[in-house]
Chain length 204, copies 2
Amino acid sequence: MAGASASARVESDPTRIMMAVNQSTIKGYPHASISSKGAFEWTLEKIIRTNTTGFKLLFLHVQVPDQDGFGVNARKRTGWLDTRGRVSGFDEVDSIYASPEDFKELKRRDRARGVHLLEYFVRRCHEIRVSCEAWIKIGDPNQVICHEVIRVRPDFLVVGCRGLGPFQKVFVGTVSEFCQKHVECPVIVIKRKPNEMPQDPVDD
Amino acid sequence: MAGASASARVESDPTRIMMAVNQSTIKGYPHASISSKGAFEWTLEKIIRTNTTGFKLLFLHVQVPDQDGFGVNARKRTGWLDTRGRVSGFDEVDSIYASPEDFKELKRRDRARGVHLLEYFVRRCHEIRVSCEAWIKIGDPNQVICHEVIRVRPDFLVVGCRGLGPFQKVFVGTVSEFCQKHVECPVIVIKRKPNEMPQDPVDD
């Protein structure tokens, strides 16, 4: 799970595909979003195909900090996961009664959830013997993806998108459009399949 | 050189990549533009790699009609090519003294030039044993590419672009941006390499 490095490359190196992946807005961590999974499966089926040694996948998961600088889940879930994985404690409250130590723990936990999300992709790659790396960054997804592309220098970037209409886009961020305009490498945007669209298309 | 058809597909079919290619603005027909050649070489190197049976390339060349409904070259070159390939006759004139029959001949010749352009890509594919098809359409490139994607249903579209800045874009069409927004399949835009940029970056 080490960060990818931009080392000097020779002709026979595998094609390095960066994939920006995020969690499901419906199921939350550790589930991957519908569009991330779709973009991943599309890449396997249409690009990598049987040439598993010709490619390396680089999975980047960006966690969005809330105003306090913690992962976005810290704001929503200030309770603890019990041994059965259920949230207990002071969930769904406006005021937060937690010590700085508690927040430190939450931050660590958010990171663990991110790792768990990446596990899905890494495990699948191991199964089909495609080389991969995966890592987490915290920040604004648009900015972080642009920065990581400059740092890691993939051959191209794959991002999933919900395929929203112009009206819906006003209310939600469209990382894919930002990437197409600003990222310093070729970008391919994979829309969700119509039959995978949830009831509310803004969900993912 | 037959047009590609949108037949029913099974799992093991090759990935069908459509490539929109055009002629060089500097050398004219039959030379391919720098960005078309770059996008083609990129696709071979980064996507197809050694998996030559896993992909099929579909080359579309769109010829832009001038106001008289002829290919864009009819307006600039109203003379004839002599046996050594040089233009002779009434070249570089404002008034055109040509009969309807002459224009018919020009139209035919423009088409032949388009075929000659496509030959470059088809021959290269044959050399490396990648399956391909190539065809010509006349019309507005943006509209034609969108229409052909709906008709042919490729898995994705590759287009080269000059990588112009926003100021330069005001004066020239940006087919790549239009495709990214409107084409009904994933699109990957390949920018020209900095070392391939001609003196005037608007040239290609």
